[in-house]
């Protein structure tokens, strides 16, 4: 039943694309497409949610399409239901946002046809139950999002972004293809049911895990496979950026979970080590990259990398615990990871929508040209602030809950018998803590430079509050962030069927603990109650406010800023994004980015402006990708000479081929 609803929804979305092509000229097209997508997403969301909460039994169906003798197998179980909730929630809010945002689109005919197809692609990936269907949907998702990235193709950077994205996507798909090739075996047992039944050998499973980590990781944005992400996500229209960052990366996470926990057989002890190592590096690198950015959307994209790292830390721990039969710990870690998947999809979409609203209001993505927007667009500023607090993992919002659970999982890991894990896990924990603190710093920067202070350009000064559809979408997500923050128990309970399906056990039921607090293991050990903390803060805050206003003064005068008595300086004297990050750049950047500052101070008396140039190196690109590109260019150049041979030389090629083959014949056994 649920499956049918979802499939019909996907089919409708697919049908919506050609329709959009048909009436791309008309102005109603955008409202039609986004409105319909929103309806469909809402319905699918309801269905998936109902299925998840009711912990329904798996439903599967085989359609007579795809590989002929195989058919397309589709299946919904707890895991896919959960990820469907993420997908459809994102899709719904994005469509709502786009109802307003899409009106400002300069080239709607390049966005509308692909948007619903993109949504359908993501839905189908999560539903796929055989390798072919999975990969088709997977690559279809990449392809449609590529088209969306290319929608503003006149900007050369976007074309480059799209190119890098497509190549990396194909790389990921081919890697997954190899993984499935291994799982399916030479006789082509492509359905997941057959794969589950197959029980691959340890060595094979290992190879599969590596391939899956690389394949899914390249889509999710694990360092060092993340390079396409900060290019492609910002290039797309903002609601699509939100979907790509908030949802599509989660679909990639789904791919990894599906393979590593479900298909690849029992995990070996060292799997978790690989995953954790990647994850730890990703977490810190992501946030450090983000700190170095001053393009708002690119900063957000890099934070996606960071959060993917956090998610993979949870997954790695879950793998480790699962390997050693610590079921409840594994359930805790997995739940933490999945909860973070959900949370991140909420606030990352919210933040990208905010960035989109800023973009439409000012036409600027560069924070150095913004500032003071909280006066111009107070509502956007408010919801964006909520998003910032949430992603910075600060109570009482939702980001904190999942990180807190991850920490709790880490605190359980000393019981793991493997020495390498004993050494690795604390380090990862430290990295996670570091990343959390740096994320807070980064969002102080992002919010402070963009929304606070004084406008740095006329564009920022003349900004207008964004439209009501966009605001509605953002308020909706912000409310969900708060809800998931103060009532995490409900969400954790909803995840129980998932973890019991994948791990064989789940966290203790939270919804019946007193005061709706969450107790991962035991009340004596650790507990957190977002609701109470929230209430306390409200109470004490209002208490203080009312007391002071009642008993003491509540008068207020406006005056020029004091600023240690310096006369009113121009907005240019404010701290910029780069200058704000300077202390942190000095601490971390010198190592990670080989950051150098070249100061140029004019001699006394010269009217020349002093300037400070910052030099940053993306070492991942320079050490990993640049050589690759250079190598391919080298090979291409040298092989290209073969285009320019004379006929006689071509003949000698043929001749030598003949002689060689004849020699082969003579020495053939």
């Amino acid at each position: 039943m649920t499956l049918t609803i979802l499939l019909v929804g996907a089919a409708l979305l697919l049908a919506l694309g050609p329709l959009a092509v048909a009436l791309r000229r008309s102005s109603a097209a955008s409202r039609l497409v986004y409105g319909t997508s929103m309806m469909i997403a809402a319905v699918s969301l309801a269905a998936a949610l109902a299925y998840l909460i009711a912990a329904g039994a798996p439903e599967s169906i085989a359609l007579p399409v795809g590989v002929p003798w195989l058919g397309a197998h589709l299946r919904i179980d707890a895991l896919s239901a959960f990820f469907l909730v993420v997908v459809d929630l994102g899709a719904m809010s994005a469509s709502l946002f786009a109802l307003g945002y899409g009106q400002h689109e300069t080239a709607p005919e390049r966005v509308l046809p692909f948007y619903p197809a993109f949504l359908a692609g993501m839905t189908l990936v999560v539903l796929a139950d055989d390798a072919f269907t999975y990969l088709v949907s997977w690559e279809f998702m990449s392809l449609t999002s590529w088209a969306l990235v290319m929608s503003h193709h006149r900007v050369p950077d976007n074309v480059r972004a799209g190119y890098v994205y497509l190549v990396m996507a194909s790389f990921g798909t081919l890697t997954l293809l190899l993984a499935f090739g291994l799982l399916a075996g030479p006789d082509g047992h492509y359905t997941f049911a057959q794969i589950r039944a197959a029980h691959p050998s340890a060595a094979l499973g290992a190879l599969v895990l590596i391939l899956a980590l690389v394949g899914a990781g390249s889509k999710a944005g694990l360092v060092p496979l993340h390079v396409w992400l900060p290019l492609a996500h910002p290039a797309a229209p903002s609601h699509v950026s939100g979907l790509m960052s908030g949802v599509m990366t989660k679909v990639a996470v789904y791919g990894f979970v599906r393979i590593a926990f479900d298909l690849a057989g029992p995990p070996a002890w060292w799997w978790s080590i690989v995953v954790l190592a990647f994850a730890g590096v990703t977490t810190v690198m992501g946030v450090l990259y983000a700190l170095m950015q001053h393009d708002l959307k690119r900063l957000l994209a890099y934070h996606t990398v960071e959060n993917i790292g956090i998610i993979f830390i949870g997954l790695g721990l879950a793998l480790a615990f699962k390997t050693h039969g610590m079921i409840f710990a594994a359930a805790l870690a997995l739940t933490a990871a999945l909860l973070h998947v959900f949370n991140h999809s909420l606030f990352k979409s919210l933040l990208f929508f905010g960035a989109g609203a800023v973009l439409t209001a000012t036409g600027e993505r560069d924070m150095e040209h913004l500032g003071g927007l909280s006066h111009r667009m107070p509502q956007t500023a408010f919801v964006f602030l909520i998003g910032c607090v949430a992603i910075s993992a600060l109570p009482p919002l939702n980001g904190f809950v999942s990180e807190w659970l991850t920490f709790q999982a880490i605190l359980l890991s000393p019981q793991l018998p493997v020495w390498s894990l004993k050494l690795l896990v604390p380090a990862v924990g430290a990295l996670l803590a570091l990343a959390a603190a740096l994320a807070a710093a980064c969002f102080v920067k992002a919010y402070g430079v963009t929304f606070l202070g004084r406008p740095r350009t006329d564009a920022a000064a003349g900004a207008k509050e964004t439209d009501s559809f966009s605001l509605a979408a953002m308020y909706f997500l912000a409310a969900l962030c708060l809800l998931a923050g103060i009532l995490p128990g409900l969400f954790i309970d909803a995840l129980a069927p998932v973890s019991s399906a994948l791990i064989g056990g789940h966290m203790p039921v939270q919804s019946d603990t007193p005061w709706l607090s969450i107790v991962p293991i035991a009340a004596s050990r650790s507990s957190y109650d977002g609701l109470l903390v929230f209430l306390f803060m409200i109470i004490s805050g209002t208490l203080a406010a009312s007391a002071i206003h009642r008993l003491a003064s509540n008068r207020l005068r406006r005056a020029p800023a004091w600023d240690c008595g310096y006369p009113d300086a121009s907005p240019a004297t404010q701290y910029t994004a780069m200058s704000f990050a300077q202390p942190i750049r000095r601490v971390f950047g010198t190592v990670v980015f080989r950051a150098r500052e070249h100061g140029d101070m004019p001699p006394p008396g010269s009217a020349r402006p002093a300037r400070l140039t910052v030099e940053l190196h993306d070492l991942v690109w320079e050490t990993l990708y640049a050589p690759l590109v250079a190598g391919i260019g080298f090979a291409a150049d040298h092989l290209n000479r073969l285009q320019f041979l004379t006929i006689r030389q071509f003949l000698s090629l043929v001749f030598s081929a003949l002689v060689i083959l004849l020699l082969v014949l003579t020495i053939w056994p």
């Binding site: 399409v65 590989v67 390049r110 081919l174 190899l178 391919i632 071509f650 003949l658």
Partner: protein
């Protein structure tokens, strides 16, 4: 030449119609009518070919129709038909801008029909000598057509094609003789020793060493026509300099026909236990072509030459698939052959339109095609997406099957294969980006010709990628079984 069962049959049709049409268009007074005649003839051939699928005649000592070539005949006839439609408008435009003279147009259409005749003959020939003759005839015909523009470049390309082709002819013939020598002691002297359907049944008793030597020569001889590296040299220039419809036919059909001939002989060797396995040789050449062609994509400045290299790449994949063998890989190979014919000819249609509206084949002079000609631009993109093996189009399925079935058996080869494919995709899109996106460049005149052929091909590829009719599947599976 005599047909077994002399009365008119579809079998006779696929040969007679082109032959007659060729003669007609050579003598027809109104040179413009030859284009219509061309379309008509290919349509008739298509009908005969489809009829052939249902009424299979008994194999004679010269002609044979079985599952294997039945597919190819139908495919050939179909692509030939759509191409003739495209060619009509294309050649019309060439006439208007005076690149072609009336006489050369007549010559062109006559040659087109001769080519059809030759290819059909090669496909249904049961006699390996006859097959050889037919393929060589096809080669010479295409040589003529490549040189038709009489320009410096065209002549050079044709001359290169001619010389290399002739050497290929010679090698193939030597291989054929060797096969005969191997067959003679078993089958006995005379015609029977060259009848393929006889050979394949008796091949088990042949002298394996002779078969090996023969296969080497055939591989090189027909491989030259397939365009496998390092025998490919003629292919890019011939594609780039000839009229675009001929590029489409070359890539879409002639390469297939040559590969089909190779397959026939592969089946011969497969039937002999003692002979060396043809697999390794084909896999090596296939991978070589794939990787080589993928790298060659990067430095291309001529759009047609680029897609010619992509043809080499795909021929490499197909040869590899047949080389590795097994039901899945063979199925994938056949599927890939079919899909590649359809897609590549569609791409060449698109390229033809582009080259005519932009008045150039230089990639550097195109740009922003999706802005200036949205339909054409997105059509080209769709074609490239298909040829790059991205879903949901047909080639993805075949590549999926090849790679996944290979990796479980030959992991290292599969890695090379994937590497080649990836490099190829990157190369293709590197160029596509500058053609289809970015600031518009070049003229923005509308395209007069119809998009029907192009989009009908692409639609077929799309459908095949999502849903394949069971009949076709069973068919392919039988053939895959035959190929062993």
């Amino acid at each position: 030449m005599t047909f077994d069962g002399g009365t008119f049959s579809p079998l006779a049709g696929v040969l007679a119609v082109p032959a007659v049409a060729a003669a007609l268009s050579a003598v027809l007074p109104d040179y413009r009518a030859t284009a219509r005649l061309n379309v008509l003839a290919t349509a008739l051939t298509l009908i005969c070919a489809v009829a052939l699928l249902f009424a299979k005649p008994q194999p004679g000592s010269y002609l044979l129709v079985d599952d294997l070539n039945g597919t190819f005949i139908a495919l050939t006839a179909f692509v030939a038909f759509t191409t003739s439609i495209f060619s009509a408008s294309y050649i019309g435009h060439e006439l208007d801008i005076g690149r072609l003279t009336p006489s050369s147009v007549r010559f062109y259409h006559a040659m087109y029909q001769v080519l059809m005749f030759a290819m059909n003959l090669a496909l249904i020939a049961n006699n390996i000598g006859l097959m050889w003759v037919a393929i060589e005839l096809a080669t010479l015909t295409t040589v003529m057509m490549v040189g038709i523009y009489r320009t410096h470049e065209a002549l050079e390309a044709a001359w290169k094609y001619f010389i290399l082709g002739s050497v290929g002819i010679a090698l193939a013939l030597f291989g054929t003789i060797l096969i005969y020598m191997a067959a003679r002691p078993v089958v006995g002297e005379g015609l029977q020793a060259m009848v393929w359907s006889v050979l394949v049944t008796r091949a088990g008793a042949f002298d394996p060493a002779l078969l090996d030597a023969a296969f080497v020569f055939l591989l090189l001889g027909y491989g030259t026509k397939v365009g496998l590296a390092p025998l490919h040299a003629w292919l890019p220039d011939a594609h780039a300099e000839g009229p675009t419809p001929i590029s489409a036919v070359l890539s879409g059909l002639l390469l297939n026909v040559a590969l089909y001939a190779l397959l026939r002989f592969k089946m011969l060797l497969a039937a002999n236990a003692a002979a060396l396995a043809p697999g390794p040789l084909m896999m090596t050449l296939g991978l070589l072509s794939l990787v080589f062609a993928s790298f060659m994509l990067y430095r291309r400045r001529d759009i047609k030459r680029m897609f010619a290299y992509s043809s080499i790449e795909h021929m490499g994949i197909i040869t590899f698939a047949f080389g590795i063998g097994g039901p899945i890989a063979n199925f994938a190979g056949l599927l890939h052959m079919t899909m590649h014919s359809l897609t590549k000819s569609a791409i060449f249609f698109a390229v033809g339109h582009v080259a005519q509206v932009k008045g150039t084949q230089r990639i550097a002079d195109m740009g922003g095609l999706t802005e200036t000609h949205p339909v054409l631009g997105w059509g080209l993109i769709l074609g490239v997406v298909a040829i790059a093996g991205l879903p949901p189009l047909g080639i993805f399925m075949s590549e999926f099957l090849v790679v996944s079935s290979t990796f479980a058996r030959e992991p290292l080869l599969a890695v090379v294969l994937v590497f080649g494919i990836l490099v190829g995709v990157a190369g293709l899109f590197l160029r596509l980006n500058s053609i289809a996106f970015g600031e518009p460049r070049g003229p923005t005149a509308k395209v007069q010709a119809s998009y029907v052929p192009m989009f009908s091909h692409l639609a077929l590829v799309l459908v095949a990628g999502v849903y394949m009719p069971p009949a076709l599947v069973v068919w392919f599976q039988n053939v895959a079984g035959l190929l062993g």
